[in-house]
């Protein structure tokens, strides 16, 4: 690892390079983070970031870190908003998350909260954050369950796709030509949420899920899963799996069993940790859908900038982009309100935001409304379908809508 910035080091580096990200323990009075414009006309915002800074899940913190490192100057220049980040380690544990969030809100007095990136930990603190009435920025989680629109005004905003959207976009594709659909999902929040929404979509549209199988994170093989798919005549597979490495276990079993489904679909999670543990023959037929265009336009600009600024690959490419989006949204809202501590006004400004910028050349208009706090929508025409070449480079196959028509 060695990439995560630490407090003292970060403070030093921040002074030199005007980087925004500091470590934990900053204290409530640090810097001039008043939330309103200082002498230079720049509003310094105290942003609480919570995520797994250490341990095996640290990639889920790293993408936020990378995005800050790359773009904080840009946002300051663009919106006169400077982020002073106060970060806490949630150690990927729900109880630790609860405490970390408490500290950020109650002790550090942050103006907004970003994270936690893992769905389960977000669910642990959902109630608290809503009651605390702080803008809650969620670039990571995909679980729709985190936002309960019965709570109004609602404080949570998500800029990743959600599992409900994936199914709405993919459902028809999976069941095209009367195919029998099987889902293999990881035994975690993301996977279970995938299953949930696939089943709801099927029910609403008069289909049924032929086979559903779960894979434990780190499972040593998936032979039985694939055999059961084969036996039940599944010819369309959806993989709702958090870790690319587990996805690789499934595709390895598919190859090994000589299983040849007509369709294998998954999500952008495959972009992380998959390639290094799989072979080209195993990813040949896999396609993913995502609302982002990784190959051209704003999304790809964000990724390229991260690569250039950090010298590393984007930790979780989809989430690097969603982090950019949420920061853009929040910075705009703060600029408009002029005071980051007027939480309700900032929240309203986010909800009413007109144009979200991603990179220089992509905009999304009016994404939010009172009962829609997720950035993307489920219009297949706006989603992209990708395949992979032998080097695991993404190949754009068309929009999801196009692929439904011409079956990519």
């Amino acid at each position: 690892m060695g990439k995560l910035r630490s407090m003292h080091k970060a403070l030093g580096v921040a002074a030199a390079t005007a980087l925004a990200l500091t470590g934990c323990g900053g204290g409530a009075d640090a810097g001039g983070a008043t939330g309103s414009a200082g002498e230079d006309g720049v509003i310094t915002v105290k942003l609480g970031v919570v995520g797994p800074k250490t341990g095996p899940a640290s990639l889920y913190y790293e993408y936020m870190d990378q995005t800050f490192e790359t773009f904080s100057d840009d946002f300051e220049e663009k919106y006169d908003v400077r982020f002073e980040v106060i970060s806490e380690d949630d150690q990927a544990s729900p109880e630790e998350t609860a405490r970390a969030v408490s500290r950020l809100i109650n002790e550090k007095g942050v103006h907004a909260l970003m994270g936690p990136p893992l769905s389960g930990n977000s669910l642990q603190v959902a109630d608290v954050v809503q009651k605390s009435q702080l803008p809650w920025l969620l670039p990571g989680p995909n679980a729709d369950e985190i936002i309960n629109y019965d709570i109004q005004p609602n404080w949570a905003f998500m800029t990743n796709f959600t599992n409900q959207q994936i199914m709405a976009v993919l459902g028809e594709r999976l069941w095209a030509n009367g195919q029998k659909v099987g889902i293999v999902y990881s035994a975690d929040g993301f996977g279970q949420s995938n299953l949930q929404h696939l089943k709801s979509w099927a029910e609403e549209n008069g289909h049924e899920v032929t086979a559903e199988e779960t894979i434990q994170p780190g499972a040593s093989d998936a032979n039985a899963i694939i055999q059961r798919f084969k036996d039940s005549g599944v010819d369309s597979v959806f993989m709702g799996i958090t870790q690319g490495a587990d996805t690789a276990t499934v595709t390895r079993a598919i190859e090994q069993a000589g299983f040849e489904p007509k369709t294998i679909m998954t999500t952008g999670t495959i972009l992380t940790n998959y390639k290094d543990v799989a072979d080209p023959s195993q990813w040949e037929k896999i396609q993913i859908v995502d609302p982002r265009n990784f190959l051209e336009g704003g999304d790809s600009e964000v990724l390229a900038a991260v690569r250039e600024a950090t010298g590393e690959a984007p930790a979780i490419p989809t989430n690097n982009i969603s982090t950019y989006a949420i920061l853009d949204i929040y910075a705009q809202a703060v600029q408009e309100v002029g005071d980051a501590t007027d939480f309700e006004a900032v929240r309203q400004a986010i909800e009413d935001i007109e144009t979200v910028h991603i990179g220089d050349s992509l905009t999304i208009e009016n994404p939010f409304s009172e009962d829609d706090h997720v950035l993307y929508d489920d219009d297949p025409a706006k989603w992209h379908t990708y395949g992979f070449d032998e080097n695991f480079e993404l190949v754009h196959l068309g929009t999801a809508a196009e692929c439904l028509q011409k079956s990519c």
């Binding site: 060695g2 434990q216 040593s220 998936a222 032979n223 039985a224 090994q256 069993a257």
Partner: protein
């Protein structure tokens, strides 16, 4: 039939790692809870020397095994021996080996990063047909190795003087130490061999799933289960336990879904322990008055 073959192969993986637990238990009555990290250690050491093109794969494997063996022996000497001095109820070694696991996991994560890395050493790609079932060559290699290692260990314990000493220590450490054999030395050697086996498992397993700091964790529970089912005091135990555990969990997975597979394996542990506390092949130790 497929489930049977694949279950046996899967059981081989667990059996190989279970041997690490059985070995240390036989001679020292301790289990190293950091075995999972030795699995990762082996894999990463081999990854580090993967670039030495002059060294054949077997040599690279040997480097990984050797490093883990040395670390394992040191772990026994410095982290287990001092914490098992208070008799059979002294379980402080549990704390110290778990602590070692924390340290190793953390260090490996900090140095190598959390993501799995591709390992090409001793990698066989593709599958072969075994009685109609498609079996990955790599998994088959591990299973075969589990049998080979077990046979070697059994032969060594019966035919070599080192093996005799080892068995003597396991029967009666006090008397053996009177005879001039140092149980501590025997313990160190056993830990070295056991951690070497863990590293070997790790390297071969990493060729499939990639080398990552947490790669050992998912294997740990299954391997302890296999060791306990077979009997912690029997070198043949892991093979029998592995076969039963593997076949049962795989067959259950085939019939009822993957979610039930591991559960069935765990239930097997309960049934065996309730029925035969010392494991299927284990020796019951009599309480002496």
């Amino acid at each position: 039939m497929d489930a049977l073959v694949l279950g046996l192969v899967l059981g081989g993986l667990y059996a190989l790692l279970a041997q690490s637990f059985v070995l240390t238990f036989i001679t020292t009555k301790t289990l190293n809870f950091a075995v999972g990290e030795f699995v990762a250690l082996g894999a990463f050491v081999v990854l580090a020397v993967a670039g030495w093109s002059w060294l054949p794969d077997v040599g690279k494997l040997a480097v990984g095994v050797l490093v883990a063996a040395v670390v394992g022996a040191a772990a026994y000497r410095f982290l287990v021996v001092p914490f098992m001095t208070e008799g059979e109820h002294d379980v402080r070694w549990l704390l110290s080996t778990v602590a070692l696991s924390f340290v190793m996991l953390n260090l490996i994560t900090n140095v190598e990063g959390p993501s799995p890395q591709r390992s090409e050493t001793a990698r066989l790609s593709g599958a072969v047909d075994v009685l109609g079932a498609g079996v990955s060559k790599q998994q088959l290699l591990i299973a075969v190795l589990a049998v080979v290692v077990t046979v070697l260990l059994v032969v060594a314990s019966k035919k070599t003087s080192a093996g005799l000493v080892m068995r003597a220590v396991s029967q009666d450490p006090e008397t053996t130490s009177l005879m001039g054999v140092s149980p501590r030395l025997v313990g160190m050697v056993t830990y070295a061999v056991a951690m070497g086996i863990a590293a070997l498992t790790g390297t071969l397993y990493a060729a499939t799933v990639g080398a990552s700091p947490v790669m050992g964790a998912p294997l740990l529970v299954a391997s302890i289960a296999v060791a306990v089912v077979g009997g912690l005091s029997s070198l043949w135990g892991p093979l029998l336990g592995g076969a039963l555990y593997g076949v049962l969990s795989e067959v259950t997975s085939y019939e009822f879904g993957a979610i039930w597979g591991e559960t069935a394996g765990l239930l097997l542990v309960i049934v065996v322990l309730v029925w035969r506390p010392q494991g299927l092949l284990g020796r019951r130790t009599e309480v002496k008055l």
